[in-house]
């Protein structure tokens, strides 16, 4: 919806027109009198004066007592005259943009307004506009007289700025705007600073090792205290000078805490400098407290020179250690401190070198901006550390979970291992017993049988079979039942002697990964026994010259070129039923084909 910019301008035209017309037609403006020429007299009486004309001296506003009446304070009287064509009927007002410290106003001898208490603790109106409404008929056609009774203090920029008298409705907007600027804004600043320093203080309570947060909360507290001077009119218990001393000391403390904060923020350790500055910040205000009151304000001004130096030092330090922080952090901090410092120099210049104009102090602008900036940075840091903490926590959790999983796993593994160890130990013992006992006896029985006459050959063969079967059992127990290849390899060694006796040549082929459908120690043993039996049969009966053995992933085949046998007649003999039964038990298929040119036994699974 791109609208023509001219259309926008046209839409504003009626308002602009009305405004213009208003300015032209307003005769109210013409009625407003700006008063800056009058007469003045110092007198401690608090009723409108009736002294002879000779005591009055002419005065031009702004009138800064520091310049016009150095080292004089107390009650002063101003008198202004102005003429009106006619007596107004509506509500009128006196609008005093600036006066210090307190005043009351008389119009044509009638009290129309007062700034509050004139005895300690006095009301403070130094930093705010004053506005007193009164009924228009109090003024009459011709000459009118305004008398203003001002309470001021020596050497504190007391005095009066030019002011206006006119219809209430005309003057009020200007007063409201100024009131907003000079009272509402500091109130908001005060609230914000106090709130931030409270939040950071709470954070500090939770994280005591992070002194940054405490430093900030002190800074915020001191600057809030200083800002209070702009909107608090009535200060209980404290005299004017005590209150002034307190607020200016708060400024000093604020800058001191700011130094500590910045040192910690950019991670610089300079305890000696901090100590010297602490002494300056405590001893300085203390000494000033002992001085006569006219020296209080300027005394703080002189002390402030030291703080100007410190502010330059802070800026330099931030620049010097800019790499300790993120660039965005550094520059935000640098410029907000620079701004704050400039407002400070502005105020200091006014304090040290009085102008005729009653000054407007703006340091709280700087401290508010700086407070918000630093609070923002600290909250960002806090957020970052929270995120970091959460990430760490998450990592830690997953690490713990991982570790406990590994632990559970290794515990289980250990249990399995222990069980296997127990089984293994038991097996080892049985093997040792077999080896040293039964095995040894079998071997010596066999050796002895070898030496016997040939008619005892069957005994020898039986003994050998017993030994071979024992070996098969041990082989199957020994190794990994899934590693059929090695089992077959070991079996070949046993078959070697059988082949030697039958004089057949063995052709051996073992493929890469033969594996039974249900590999287990007993199944492997069964298969070995089958193979052993097949070979025994070949050696005994076939008269073969070549035997072909092959085993693969899903088959085992033994083929010979012997004389073969008649399947029908030999079915019951040669242990064939035995072979079939074993094959069935193993869940594998046995096929036997035999002819005069040889026999093939094929096992598939």
């Amino acid at each position: 919806m791109a609208r023509n910019p001219f259309a926008k301008l046209f839409s504003w035209m009626p308002f602009l027109g009305l405004l213009f017309m208003g300015l032209l037609l307003s005769d109210a403006n013409a009625e407003v009198k700006r008063l800056d020429h009058g007469e003045f007299v110092f007198d401690q009486s608090q009723t409108p004066p009736t002294w002879p004309q000779s005591r009055w001296t002419p005065v031009q506003l702004p009138d800064n007592w520091d310049l016009s009446h150095p080292f004089k304070g107390g009650f002063g009287w101003y008198r202004f005259s102005f003429t009106l064509d006619r007596s107004p009927n509506d509500l009128w007002a006196v609008y005093l943009p600036r006066l210090s410290v307190n005043a009351q106003i008389f119009i044509n001898g009638q009290l129309v307004g007062s700034g509050g208490r004139f005895t300690e603790p006095v009301s403070h109106n130094s930093y705010r506009p004053s506005f007193f409404s009164f009924p228009g008929p109090l003024l009459h056609a011709g000459e009118n007289q305004i008398v203003l009774n001002l309470l001021g203090y020596a050497q504190e920029e007391s005095g009066l700025s030019p002011f206006q008298i006119g219809p209430d409705a005309t003057l009020r907007p200007a007063y409201n705007a100024r009131y907003f600027r000079e009272v509402i804004v500091p109130t908001i600043s005060f609230t914000l600073l106090l709130l931030l320093s409270f939040i950071l203080f709470i954070i500090w309570l939770r994280r005591r090792q992070e002194t940054l947060y405490l430093m900030f909360s002190l800074c915020g507290g001191f600057s809030a205290l200083y800002t209070a001077v702009f909107f608090i009119q009535e200060v209980p218990w404290l005299t004017h000078h005590q209150w002034l001393w307190l607020e200016l000391t708060a400024v000093m403390c604020y800058i001191y805490c700011l130094l500590l904060l910045i040192h910690r923020f950019v991670k610089v350790q300079r305890p000696t400098l901090e100590k010297i500055f602490l002494i300056y910040t405590t001893v300085g205000p203390f000494l000033i407290f002992l001085l006569p009151s006219p020296y209080l304000f300027r005394g703080f001004g002189l002390l402030g020179l030291g703080y100007s130096a410190i502010s330059l030092y802070i800026l330099f330090t931030i620049y010097q250690f800019r790499h300790q922080c993120l660039p965005s952090e550094t520059w935000l901090l640098f410029f907000s401190i620079l701004f704050s410092a400039l407002t400070g120099y502005h105020d200091l210049a006014y304090i040290l070198h009085a102008q005729r104009e009653i000054p407007v102090f703006i340091f709280y602008w700087g401290s508010t901006v700086l407070g918000i900036a630093i609070a923002f940075l600290l909250l960002l840091r806090f957020d970052r550390s929270l995120v970091l903490f959460e990430t760490l926590n998450r990592d830690l959790n997953s690490m713990v979970a991982e570790k406990s999983r590994t632990l559970a796993q290794s515990y289980q593994e250990r249990q399995t291992l222990e069980m296997r160890q127990a089984v293994f130990g038991e097996r080892e013992r049985i093997m040792r017993d077999l080896h040293d006992g039964l095995g040894g006896y079998l071997v010596s029985a066999l050796v002895q049988a070898e030496r016997q006459p040939p008619q005892l050959l069957p005994l020898q063969q039986t003994l050998r079979s017993a030994l071979e079967d024992l070996r098969l059992m041990i082989d199957s127990l020994d190794g990994d039942p899934t590693d059929l290849a090695t089992q077959m390899g070991s079996l070949r060694e046993r078959l070697e002697s059988l082949m030697e006796s039958s004089r057949a040549i063995l052709h051996w082929q073992v493929e890469d990964s033969p594996r039974l459908p249900f590999p287990s120690t007993s199944n492997t043993l069964q298969l070995m026994r089958m193979v052993q039996e097949i070979f025994t049969n070949i050696a005994k009966h076939s008269h073969a010259r070549h035997v072909f053995f092959s085993v693969g992933a899903h088959h085992l085949e033994v083929r010979d070129d012997g004389q073969g046998f008649d399947m029908a007649t030999t079915r019951s003999g040669r242990g064939l039923p035995h072979l079939y039964r074993r094959a069935q038990q193993l869940g594998i298929t046995l096929t036997i084909t035999s002819s005069s040119s040889g026999t093939t036994l094929h096992l598939t699974w």
Binding site: E428, M431, R432, L434, H435, D436, G439, G440, L442, V443, S444, L446, V447, Q448, E450, R464, L467, L470, R471, I474, D475, D478, G479, D483, A485, T486, M488, G489, S490, L491, R492, E493, S497, E500, W508, V510
Partner: protein, 222 residues
Amino acid sequence: MIPPTQRNSVLIVEDEPITRERLVEAISAHPLLQVIAATGSLRAGQEAFLAHPPRVALIDLGLPDGSGLDLIRQIHNSQSPTESLVLTVFGDEQHVVNALKAGARGYLLKDSSFTTIADNLLMLIDGGSPINPKVARFLLSQFGEWEKSTPTTPQVALTEREKDILNLITKGYKRNEIASLLNISNNTVGTHIRRIYEKLSVHSNIEATQEAVQLGLIKNRR
């Protein structure tokens, strides 16, 4: 007839007298072999070895006064060129692997035929190592463990060809079959196997040294 001094000396340590006698018979029957001592106990075996270190020692493990493994270890760590074979009834893993770790070069079944006994001994003497599926499998797993645990120098790791040969032996293939399967000569297969054994002995020495360092017998200089 070859003079006794020219024959290769064999020591037999076996406690079962009948088995021992048969071994003596089988070895003595061969013209190139000679039994210089046949004893029935560990102590007698050790004494016989120290008195006349033989070319080959056949050692049973379960001896009445101790384990034959001690003698195998003693022989392996001595300076003599003696090589030992473990005598076993079953050729079971427990016996074979322990003996190989102690330093034996292989095993011999107690009831082997005379020819097998003589062939094995002569092959060992010739520098070719008798090898069979179980030994091959042991070697493969042992080298595998070493490779995993210590990233040793490649010179003492098995080459692919050596692994191929061991794998084929595991499956029961004979030397000549391996030669034709891999298109190499019988001798080359023998050479490979000998080299594997050399690496094994290097490893065993490294292991022994490491153990000694761990036990504090040798100061670790690094």
